[in-house]
């Protein structure tokens, strides 16, 4: 079963967000497992304005492509180079080294607790 970290909150579109400021954002292991082996990641640039619920990037696997939706509104502060150079890190460590970018949050979108997200999508809360 895919892991759902209890310390994070989640969007319905399978992004996670931590409690730090600026907030760190990534995709859940449920999403990574569903995609299959990730081979390409397209992310917003530093300084870009992102809007909660709006697409701001793409994750491409051998079999499919899916958009990254921003779980919050705000300004991108930092982008993680690791998934760009080594997209497979999203499969190996989606909550750790595979984080995507950080945002100075002005407004949060609808977010789910780990339990709510897991009950809607399956997965084991840890």
């Amino acid at each position: 079963m895919s892991k759902v970290l209890s310390t994070l909150r989640y969007s319905a579109e399978h992004e996670w967000i931590d409690a730090a400021s600026p907030a760190r954002i990534g995709i859940s292991q449920i999403a990574a497992d569903a995609l299959g082996d990730v081979v390409y990641v397209d992310m917003p640039e530093v300084g870009a304005e992102v809007t909660s619920g709006e697409p701001c990037g793409e994750v491409e696997s051998t079999k499919s492509v899916s958009e990254i939706f921003s779980p919050v509104t705000g300004t991108v502060v930092e982008v993680n180079q690791e998934p760009v150079d080594n997209p497979g890190i999203l499969n190996e460590d989606p909550y750790g080294a595979g984080w995507l970018f950080t945002v100075e949050v002005t407004e949060e979108g609808p977010l789910l607790s780990a339990e709510e997200y897991a009950s809607a999508n399956g997965g084991d809360v840890e």
Binding site: G36, D37, V39, Y40, D42, E60, T62, S64, V65
Partner: protein, 368 residues
């Protein structure tokens, strides 16, 4: 209702995730489809392809019948050999692509794609009305296991008796023979859908689990791993092999697909689709199946438009990043005037045109 192969529980025990394919619940991947793809290119992979259809044609008129029912010259196939061919309708549209094995002077095995198997069996039965042949659909009781990759022959040899080793080592591509593997009677064929050397083993459902386990165990030290449909699709795409439903369909003639040479207009007598195919050949095709190499990192996907200077001139039939080659590969139908290798085209990636270049198929060819 979704069907399950005799090996379904084996896949579950191996941790497979499943997908519906042609009405069958098939393993998509076990752990990583990229690792499975790579294993087949570098060592070996084991595939359950029991969803394929097996139809036996037997009788004094078997060869004559298949020459009438299919586009190829099956009567010219030597006993022990196989041929890639197609069954088309009267309009020349492809009902399915097939491999036909000649097992005897009057015995042939027709292998069809999963979703098409019932249609192919029904059409063959109907076309057999005026011939002295029996058409027997053995799909329900037959399993099929593909052992593919450079290590395949070595792994297989550990499971056959010394006196039958030469059957394996001397077997050319597109040939088949009866043999005992791991104590189980199988029909062994040197065919496959991955672009690698390899074998396809036809076995009764009752023996499928034992054969699957024996081969997996035999290949344990050689890098053999079970491989699912995701790897099968990326392997066949790199090898430039068409997939029914993507590159081939009822709206497609063999000429559109660049497979004109498999149509034998020279063979004697009429065959289903002959008039339409003669016409199609004479007219020339307005669209052609081509390979496109991505110059960027992003892949075109099935259904995406192919553009020339912003105008739509084709459509992607299959596409993904090539694990072996490291760049995106696409098969697409394009207007014939843009089919020359070297032609610069774009693929519309969700509103953003990305550069691609027409290249000769296959994208990947193994060194022999």
């Amino acid at each position: 209702m979704t069907q399950k192969t005799a090996l379904h529980a084996e896949h579950g025990a191996l941790g497979a995730s499943f997908t519906d394919f042609g009405g069958w619940d098939m393993p998509l991947k076990y752990a990583s489809e990229l690792a499975e793809h790579q294993a087949v290119r570098e060592a070996a992979g084991l595939f359950d392809i029991s969803h394929m259809g097996e139809i036996w044609i037997e009788g004094p008129a078997a060869a004559e019948f298949l020459n009438y029912a299919l586009v190829g010259n099956l009567a010219a196939v030597k006993v022990g050999k196989a041929k890639y061919t197609m069954i088309v309708n009267a309009a020349g549209g492809i009902i399915d692509d097939l491999i036909v094995y000649r097992r005897g002077e009057t015995t042939f095995l027709v292998v069809s794609n999963a979703g098409n198997a019932p249609t192919v069996a029904a059409d063959l039965s109907e076309r057999a009305a005026n011939f002295e042949v029996e058409v027997r659909d053995a799909s329900a009781e037959t399993s099929m296991i593909a052992l593919q990759g450079p290590a395949a022959e070595g792994i297989l040899l550990t499971q056959v008796a010394a006196e039958s080793a030469s059957i394996v080592t001397d077997m050319p591509y597109y040939a088949a023979d009866d043999i005992t593997v791991a104590g189980i009677d199988v029909l062994l064929a040197r065919t496959g859908y991955t672009g690698e050397d390899g074998f396809e083993l036809y076995v009764s459902n009752d023996d499928a689990v034992a054969l699957w386990r024996a081969l997996l165990a035999a290949g344990d030290g050689s890098g053999l791993i079970p491989a699912g449909l995701a790897a099968r699709d990326s392997l066949r795409l790199e090898a430039g092999m068409p997939l029914y439903g993507n590159e081939l369909g009822l709206e497609t003639t063999p000429y559109d697909a660049g497979l004109g040479p498999i149509v034998s207009l020279k063979k004697e007598g009429d065959f289903v689709g002959r008039a339409a195919l003669e016409e199609a050949k004479a007219a020339g095709t307005s669209r052609r199946l081509v390979g496109l190499k991505g110059l960027g990192r992003r892949a075109g996907r099935t259904g995406y438009a192919v553009l020339k200077d912003g105008a739509e001139i084709g459509v992607v039939t299959s596409g993904q990043p090539s694990p072996t080659l490291g760049y995106p590969v696409v098969m697409a139908y394009v207007d014939a005037e843009f089919a020359e290798p070297g032609t610069a085209l774009d693929v519309d990636l969700r509103g953003k045109p990305q550069p691609f270049e027409v290249v000769a198929l296959p994208f990947y060819k193994r060194e022999k």
